[in-house]
Symmetry: C2
Subunit: 348 residues, 2 copies
Amino acid sequence: MTTIDPDRRSCPAPAAETERVLLGHGSGGRLSADLLAAAITCELGEPGPLEDAALVGRDLVVSTDGFVVTPRFFPGGDIGSLAVHGTVNDLAMRGARPIALTLACILEEGLPQAELRAITASVAAAASGCGVRVVTGDTKVVSHGAADGCYLTTTGIGELLPGAVPSASGGKPGDVVLLSGPIGAHGTAILSVREGLEFESGIRSDSRPLHGLVAAMIETGGPDVHALRDPTRGGLASALNELAEASDVTVEIAEADIPVPAPVAAACELLGLDPLHVANEGCLVAFVAPGSADAILAAMHGHPAGRDARAIGFLRPSGGPAPVVARTLVGSTRIVDLLIGEQLPRIC
Amino acid sequence: MTTIDPDRRSCPAPAAETERVLLGHGSGGRLSADLLAAAITCELGEPGPLEDAALVGRDLVVSTDGFVVTPRFFPGGDIGSLAVHGTVNDLAMRGARPIALTLACILEEGLPQAELRAITASVAAAASGCGVRVVTGDTKVVSHGAADGCYLTTTGIGELLPGAVPSASGGKPGDVVLLSGPIGAHGTAILSVREGLEFESGIRSDSRPLHGLVAAMIETGGPDVHALRDPTRGGLASALNELAEASDVTVEIAEADIPVPAPVAAACELLGLDPLHVANEGCLVAFVAPGSADAILAAMHGHPAGRDARAIGFLRPSGGPAPVVARTLVGSTRIVDLLIGEQLPRIC
């Protein structure tokens, strides 16, 4: 039981220029972190950021996620499959396999029922593909103009895998940084549709469940899998910054080792995006003990979602210019920062 | 694990006139049931309606609810406290005490941060009052005009109380119908604010947690507490109809025994509402074995939320004109039907 901190009212005041909620507060980057700290976790009486998924009791993991992606249907998925995969993946990043999902829908008056059915069917298909069932739900309808079609919130309940201990704060100096596959597909797929480029680019979202991949990693590495994160909103850069801060380490990655598919690289160049900041929905980054890194990597290669896994860097003690730095292609070092504000609103 | 029913595509087609989602689909009445059956549960491959809260494993209960109430602050509560109480109560109706909550926010660009803080603080205070903590959450921001200020989705995880077996389908002919207190306050409080009548009416929402009351009932009645439901959207009439259908019984209530506070009755008359259809957020209806009814009622009287509890009717075998009938004040019998469409949009 939490009692409210009597000093709660001393939560930091918002700066004058951000006294209203901005689109950038939903970016997954620095502004998001600031809003959460000032208006959510502090008011809830929490000392620090909440993890994407929380441990309840000894072996239960819970995660919740809202989905407001636009367009609702995109190459490689839709809001329904994305909601299931996103929530299953948040559980997986805490080392849990999913055992139940809930689904809350906020619908705008006027949404075609056929579209709602297609979305629900996609939820069902994705859940079935993850071996989990939607056990309960809720549906609200708001008047025309008070929402944009359909928003979903999924909550996942998971059971901790035997031997699993991954936590955002689990990284240790010397750990190897593993990335399960190429980055940038989800964000560029969504943006390609919005910009009318989907046919030229041919990019499909990488949306997919990662609990099977995580199970293979944990089976091989057990407690040597120190930290896991799926780089969704804010991209790989934000995920690495969050893990680095929570683990109190410096992450050093090599730009040359980050796989960016050619069409994604081209789309990013065209649209002025840094692939490190673009959202993903089907890959993960891991901090693992150096002694087990090769074995864990081999286990990842044996799973379809980890076929292209590779080591992209390592952890050093904290200190230095920034929590995350990258060795560039020309041999210099650059800071890999959180995105400040909004790059791609409503990407998930 | 659910596999998708290959006949899923044979889900009933929506009637032509309702091929879009209507406000009435969010009423909690007949249209809601139709939309859920056609577009949600059928597509999910479920044989029937999902319960408000689901049993997971042996003793875990999960419930999820979206909150879109307008105005966000009203006499007796706000969207934050309402979200916590609503979710805690859904768990309680399955006989569970809350052990964790999650909170997902969908925010509209431009929402004053001070308002978000007040809402979050209210969530925290309500959760603390229920002895439970918000363990994880999510925040999305959509552009101005793509939501109306702030929507919350709360999910609750609960632990089944020892001896608790209540289920919507648990009612048996001969059971006594108990009501924990007066009805109609929440819906009329909200509507009074919208109509600018709040000062004249003085009505406050009855929003409050009911898990303590349920614990007292279960402690006394154990498995004799057959079914519980909090009559929220759609009011007492919808709650009784849903329980009657799920339990395959006829509910007979006496109008004279339904407590409607005088200000609520006056507001309902002014606004053209039937108190039986008005939403509540702080009372419950129970089907209990006749042999334990007096003892359970006495236990309810010992709890602040059940001080005015009373027996309002009994269950008969199904059959007859309708699932729920009321003996009127003049001695005749009338059908108590589900609301068809929308009475009060965005009441919770």
